[in-house]
């Protein structure tokens, strides 16, 4: 019989860190699967390499740190990071982009801070931004849609991923955001720039883009499922998406030739993925409802500002990292009201 002086409670819920991580993975899989169907074998190879190297770097770091390796490796957090890194990569990126991305995310993004739960920045976004700045060509080569493996065969795809075969210009193009940004710089205007744009296809995900970011629909469904499962709360995704919607609609109403509509914003780039899966990262987002609303709104504002006036067509990575850096500040100032006290901690008046 156990007679250690154990504190109550003596029962606990069955939900564990592992369950949370595996549910996140499950929610991501439809979008990843869709990316592979859309872009072919290369997308599969890249995802595989990225996730595997994430696990490898995680194992190495855990080993160096000492202590239990296996139980941490099984918690699924490295797979989530690897998967998210892979989803933000161009589908035909070479294998080493995936490996470097995973390395940046796991080593610099996570373990230098002390491992699980200690990092200041979202590891996947840190890797994305670092890769984008370091390897701008590889990170912005967007391949055309070639659904259901109608594009390159498995061998050619293997070469694309693993042996640095030049990607023919014939099968590449720009993303919507990139195309529009370039167009603006050449004094072209909306709506001419979007003459070929289909809002419906963008929503489904039938467009050029990062491996796992194109399908707004599937990511939205995965995110809503996570909310319903109680894994994430609605505060960040809703405030983030609402902010982008409101700002883009406002500017679109003022000047529809120079500002994209909310619908284009919502269906472009990493916005959906960031709203539901990146900005909601527990470790790097505030821990109170109000703090999360502020965080989500801040991300939304920054995304809109960078996309509209910044040098990059897509601003989600920078926006998230900037807001990550103020998370400790938000958590310091935003605290829930305590029972029997006012918002600033003084006892409420009796009687």
């Amino acid at each position: 019989m156990n007679i250690k002086p154990i504190s109550s409670p003596h029962v606990s819920s069955s939900r564990r860190v592992n369950d949370i991580m595996y549910k996140v993975i499950l929610a991501l899989l439809p979008a990843v699967g869709f990316g592979i169907i859309l872009f072919g074998w290369s997308a599969f190879f890249l995802t595989f390499v990225t996730v595997l190297s994430a696990l490898f770097f995680e194992a190495v770091c855990l080993k160096l740190k000492g202590g239990a390796v296996e139980s941490y490796l099984r918690d699924g957090s490295a797979i989530v990071t690897g998967l998210l890194v892979a989803m933000t990569l161009p589908p035909y990126a070479p294998w080493w982009i995936g490996v470097v991305g995973s390395g940046l995310a796991i080593i610099l993004g996570k373990h230098v801070y002390g491992g699980l739960g200690q990092n200041l920045f979202n590891p996947a976004m840190l890797a994305r931004v670092a890769l984008l700045i370091s390897f701008p060509i590889e990170m912005t080569t967007w391949v055309n849609v070639s659904p259901f493996f109608t594009g390159l065969d498995i061998l050619e795809s293997f070469k694309i991923t693993f042996s640095g075969v030049e990607i023919s210009d014939a099968i590449t193009g720009a993303t919507t955001l990139g195309f529009v940004k370039t167009g603006f710089s050449q004094a072209q205007l909306l709506p001419d720039l979007l003459s070929d744009y289909s809002g419906f296809l963008a929503f489904i995900g039938w467009e050029r883009g990062s491996l796992g970011e194109t399908s707004t629909l599937l990511i939205l469904l995965g995110g809503i499922w996570l909310i319903r499962q109680g894994i994430i709360q609605w505060f960040i995704p809703v405030s983030l998406l609402a902010t982008v919607t409101v700002l883009s609609t406002l500017f679109n109403l003022i000047d529809s030739t120079n500002y994209l509509s909310a619908w284009v914003h919502l269906n472009s780039g990493a916005l959906m993925l960031v709203a539901f899966f990146i900005a909601t990262d527990y470790v790097t987002s505030p821990n109170t409802p109000l703090g999360q609303l502020i965080f989500g709104t801040g991300c939304g504002v920054l995304i809109f500002v960078i996309r509209s006036w910044g040098g990059y067509p897509e601003g989600t990575g920078f926006a998230v990292l900037l807001m990550n850096s103020v998370t400790p500040l938000i958590d310091h100032y935003i605290r829930p009201r305590i029972y029997g006290r006012t918002g600033d901690g003084k006892p409420i008046e009796g009687g």
């Binding site: 019989m1 003596h10 029972y339 009796g350």
Partner: protein, 496 residues
């Protein structure tokens, strides 16, 4: 401004596996064999311990006063059965430490002969002061677990002109069904007790809050209180910790008790439903509080049920009655699994605070390894008080107790909701209890330091005074001697 983010009626909380089905539809067992020996601690309540007035070898009757209440906050204890006082000794208390406390031991004679108290003819017409006096004299204390002397609360209520008596029948702890069963079987008596409490406090109305997982108790209470329009029985949602009195008050009235105040500050007094039953027994039948209904349950109990147990019965005897399987027993708990205390062994007496004895099996207390905090803030969502358990724990880990206090450590009610939901299985409540203990001993040390300093200063002053006085005395002596010598010299001169 951001109140919309806060549920005005209920904040946080969890829904734990209830485990109430095992016991909630079995009648209260009243056939527990009378133990040969009863161990009655003189301290079973908040406040000063009672002072024994019986002598070893003396024969006592059932219900007879054993130890009287000392001071304003205290409660007497009575003999749970007739017999001979065997000893007044130190005996292990039902506490995680099982440290011995002063305990009266009775060897029962099996006659169960009652001490004769006068029974009031019209109990519901007694003066309020008289009701309080009888409640206090019967040793009634809060049976929800806080064991605060009930008469003190009634007097406080009368003096503060309260408008509502809230009867807490939440019983939100998993496993426990003793209040449920009491309401199912003895609702009329409980309603009688509530009426007496209302009269004792001159209060106009009472609300009984019952969690909606106790439909039978709700029906019984509604039927019993139907003819008394001052008593309303309402259902509240089943969500732990609904039975936290301040939580139930907020749910039912929308008001909060100030952090530095009492319920009476906002015109409310809160009593547990089992206390109402004890009040009825005390006033209408002149029966002191000498037994209580205890839930005996858990995976290691073959016949889980509620048992009416004389105070002072060893828990081991109650467990044997319910068929405890020792090989399955992983942890023994007094109270519920969320806030109850671990007991090192079962050879401790049932006391007024013992609402449940849980013999939990290994399956019941499944405990995976502790992982790092992933800041998922499940604990923030679960906290009914509005604290940031993860932040408090990280401060305490870094030994920054003052920072934890700034975050509201002292408002923590140890309900365990945060630890329950933590996916990393971090023992958050353990941290908070540790920190509170540390703060307490630090306070004690500071107090002791101040006392020492004060005494040392006083001593220095005293010594200086003594020294000064001694010098003064010496000077006077010298002067006197000098004067005498001068006088003698003068006399000699004159003589010469």
């Amino acid at each position: 401004m951001f109140e919309f983010l806060e549920n005005p009626k209920f904040r946080g909380g969890i829904h734990a596996e209830e485990h109430k089905a095992e016991t909630c539809d079995k009648p209260i067992a009243t056939n527990l064999p009378l133990p040969r020996k009863l161990y009655i601690p003189v301290q079973q309540h908040v406040g000063k311990p009672a002072e024994p007035i019986v002598k070893v070898g003396e024969h006592v009757l059932k219900g007879q006063l054993l130890a009287y209440s000392q001071g304003t906050i205290s409660a007497p204890v009575h003999a749970p059965s007739s017999g001979v006082i065997l000893d007044v000794q130190d005996f292990p208390a039902p506490h995680p430490s099982a440290l011995p406390i002063r305990t009266i031991v009775i060897e029962t004679d099996g006659h169960e002969k009652w001490f004769k108290y006068a029974i009031p003819e019209k109990p519901f017409e007694l003066e309020p002061e008289e009701i309080c006096l009888r409640v206090g004299g019967a040793g009634v204390v809060g049976l929800g677990g806080a064991v605060f002397p009930s008469a003190v609360k009634l007097n406080l209520g009368r003096k503060n002109q309260i408008h509502t008596l809230l009867i807490n029948a939440g019983e939100c702890e998993p496993y426990l069904t003793c209040d449920d069963l009491l309401m199912q079987e003895r609702a009329v008596e409980i309603v009688g007790g509530i009426r007496l409490m209302l009269r004792g406090m001159n209060a106009p109305k009472a609300i009984v809050g019952i969690e909606d997982n106790k439909p039978n108790a709700f029906k019984a209470m509604q039927a019993a209180s139907a003819e008394f329009e001052q008593i309303s029985v309402v259902q509240v949602p089943t969500r732990y910790p609904m039975g936290w009195d301040r939580q139930m008050l907020r749910y039912l009235t929308g008001n909060e008790i100030p952090a530095d105040g009492r319920a009476t500050d906002i015109g409310v007094v809160i009593h547990n439903v089992a206390t109402a039953y004890a009040v009825y027994q005390a006033v209408c039948l002149s029966k002191p509080l000498i037994s209580r209904v205890v839930t005996v349950s858990g995976g290691a109990v073959a016949k889980p049920q509620n048992v009416e147990v004389p105070i002072g019965t060893l828990m081991s005897e109650v467990l044997a009655f319910c068929g405890v399987e020792n090989e399955k027993l992983a942890r023994l708990i007094m109270g519920g699994p969320m806030m109850g205390e671990v007991l090192p062994h079962a050879d401790v007496p049932v006391v007024k605070a013992s609402s449940g004895i849980l013999a939990l099996s290994h399956e019941d207390i499944f405990e995976p390894e502790v992982k790092p905090c992933i800041r998922c803030s499940s604990c923030v969502t679960a906290c009914p008080v509005g604290l940031l358990p993860l932040e408090m724990a990280s401060r305490i880990k870094a030994n920054k107790l003052d920072a934890a206090v700034d975050l509201g450590l002292k408002d923590c009610i140890s309900c365990g909701s945060c630890s329950y939901v933590c996916p990393s299985n971090i023992p958050l409540v353990h941290y908070f209890k540790f920190a509170s203990g540390e703060l307490f001993s630090r306070q004690q040390r500071e107090h002791k330091g101040e006392q020492t300093k004060r005494l040392a200063e006083e001593r220095t002053k005293r010594m200086e005074r003594i020294k000064a006085e001694a010098e003064e005395d010496a000077r006077r002596v010298m002067e006197a001697r000098a004067a005498r010598q001068a006088a003698e010299a003068k006399a000699q001169e004159e003589n010469a």
